[in-house]
């Protein structure tokens, strides 16, 4: 049945692809686009370079040594071919350098896609795109959030930066709603581990599209300062590439499927000096026990998490003409991994984070925060420490 669904899905994807290409070609034959000739100091160069980056210092409580790092340096490169066609990309280096003998660093293409604009209500996108899930996955510049590190939810539940090769549609639904919907390559359960689905991402690298994912998000903006988002990601089977050894020693595809659903909700409220935002997300991993047996490691059946941030810019209290922002903030965050009882049952962690973010000018942010975790065993992660308390200091920019 799984293979029947897969071949059906492949057929649909192929047919849709061909039709979209035909439609776009027919539109391009009669383009109504032209550049405005009548604007003042116009930014005429259609190619744009930008970037963002984060420099961090982590000082864990206790005897564990601290760590300095350039977590990421990213270069945007985008090009506007016409009023309808554009290309956007992000090239990222994580942890300063990539060297075969020194694992940890990464150089990667984080996004690279072509957009075709039909109208505000309808745009097509194809390429390596970001999955619409929560807030941070699609908007992750360090100047947009207050903490030095990204929220834990946006790593262990929504595997940020989560990208796939695929295609989809996005646009406005009237004045108050926005939508995005994509077909993508999907995850591969072969990479799942104790933290969940993070290492299951194929990231567009010679990926296996046997079981494509569907993802969609709706944003509701009742007034300028308020936004709510709801998103879903679904894949019929993430285990199609897994093999088991038979008694005779031969490898055969596993007999079970592992569907995946990721549901996320987010909200943001900005009014004057007050900034509130939160995310909640849940991964439901099908047949986690059978996956655990095949992969010889414990795979959670469910991973959930959420946080609420409250920040307030105090500068207007002292000087209303200043554009500098100094924002003390607090965050409460919870994470839970549900394992089978034989694997230790449920594990939950709660974090309280307090700190200050300062934006001295547009595009620059200086941050410091202290994080307290209710459990000393943080997840297995290169950026986290086996400690209950962690001081973090960061510099970030985006231009």
């Amino acid at each position: 049945l799984a293979s029947a669904i897969a071949s059906q899905a492949r057929g649909t994807v192929a047919l849709t692809f061909v039709s979209v290409i035909l439609l776009i070609s027919s539109l391009t034959l009669n383009p109504s686009s032209s550049s405005a000739q009548d604007t003042i100091p116009r930014i005429t160069d259609p190619t744009h370079i930008g970037g963002y980056g984060e420099m961090v210092y982590y000082d864990p409580n206790g005897t564990t040594p601290g760590q300095l790092d350039l977590s990421r340096i990213v270069i945007f490169l985008s090009h506007q071919f016409s009023d309808r066609w554009s290309f956007k990309s992000e090239l990222e280096t994580e942890h300063v350098k990539v060297e075969v003998s020194d694992p940890g660093g990464e150089f990667e293409i984080e996004q690279a896609f072509l957009d075709f604009h039909v109208s505000d209500a309808l745009n097509f996108r194809g390429g390596l795109y970001l999955i619409p899930s929560g807030i941070i996955n699609q908007t992750h510049e360090p100047t947009t959030f207050f903490s030095v590190g990204r929220p834990h939810v946006d790593e262990e539940v929504i595997p940020t930066t989560w990208r796939e090769i695929g295609a989809g549609l996005f646009g406005d639904l009237g004045e108050y709603f926005k939508y995005q919907a994509y077909f993508g390559e999907g995850l591969s359960a072969a990479g799942y581990d104790e933290t969940g689905i993070y290492e299951g991402r194929q990231e567009g690298k010679q990926s296996n599209p046997t079981n494509p994912s569907i993802s969609a998000k709706i944003d509701y903006l009742p007034t300028p300062g308020l936004r709510f988002g709801a998103s879903i990601y679904y894949q019929t089977n993430t285990a199609s590439a897994l093999q088991t050894q038979t008694d005779s020693g031969a490898s055969t595809p596993v007999a079970f499927t592992s569907p995946l659903s990721v549901i996320a909700f987010d909200g943001q409220y900005d009014h004057g000096a007050l900034h509130v935002r939160g995310e909640y997300a849940m991964d439901a991993i099908g047949n986690a026990l059978q996956l655990s047996a095949t992969l010889s490691r414990a795979i959670p059946s469910k991973v959930t998490g959420g946080y609420l941030d409250v920040g307030y810019n105090v500068i207007p209290l002292f000087c209303s003409s200043s554009d500098v922002e100094v924002i003390p903030f607090v965050r409460y965050e919870m994470l839970q991994h549900n394992f089978d009882a034989t694997q230790g049952g449920n594990q939950s962690r709660n974090y309280v984070i307090a700190g200050v973010a300062c934006r001295p000018t547009d595009g620059v942010i200086i941050k410091a925060n202290y994080e307290f975790c209710s459990q000393s065993q943080f997840a297995v992660n290169e950026n986290e420490f086996m400690t209950k308390g962690l001081l973090s200091i960061g510099l970030g920019y985006a231009f």
């Binding site: 032209s34 009548d38 930014i43 406005d172």
Partner: protein
Amino acid sequence: LRHFKLGILSIIATIVSCGSLFAQTVPEKADAAMRRVFPDAASYNLFTVGIDSAVTAHLYARTGQVVRGRVMIRQALNAKGKPIGFGITDDVKGKEQPITYITLIKPDGSIADVEILLYREAYGGEIQHEGFRKQFRGEKASSDIRLGHDIQSIAGATISSRAITNGARKLVTLFDELHKEGKF
């Protein structure tokens, strides 16, 4: 199931075709904005104004932003040939790409509307929505047209909100400076 697929595809085809039929170029959209905001005008025209170094310096002192060269201004005229509205088009930089917009200004120097003519960014097109734009109406060069002050940001779209807010402040102040110089 095949009929279902064909149905979906024909719906997409219809949407795409309609979208392309109604799509306008940037100058056409700017003209349409003038007609929408100043519908009582008897005629509309377009003229250019040179920006001298004094205007550039005053504008920089008041807004921290720079305009040089020539500005093309749309004008809505009544039956007697008296201007009842102006429109200035411009680009501001969003996160990665320019955002093309028009600021429509009444003869008293107050903003009648701000309209986005072309948005090219991957995310954040919400600045086109009425709820954000209506905050600019009635604002003048002397108002506090800054994000978090007279203008509230769109949650989740701060960069483009700030870009268009700074742009509107620049153009309404430029209008004020040109008006003082007696350019129109």
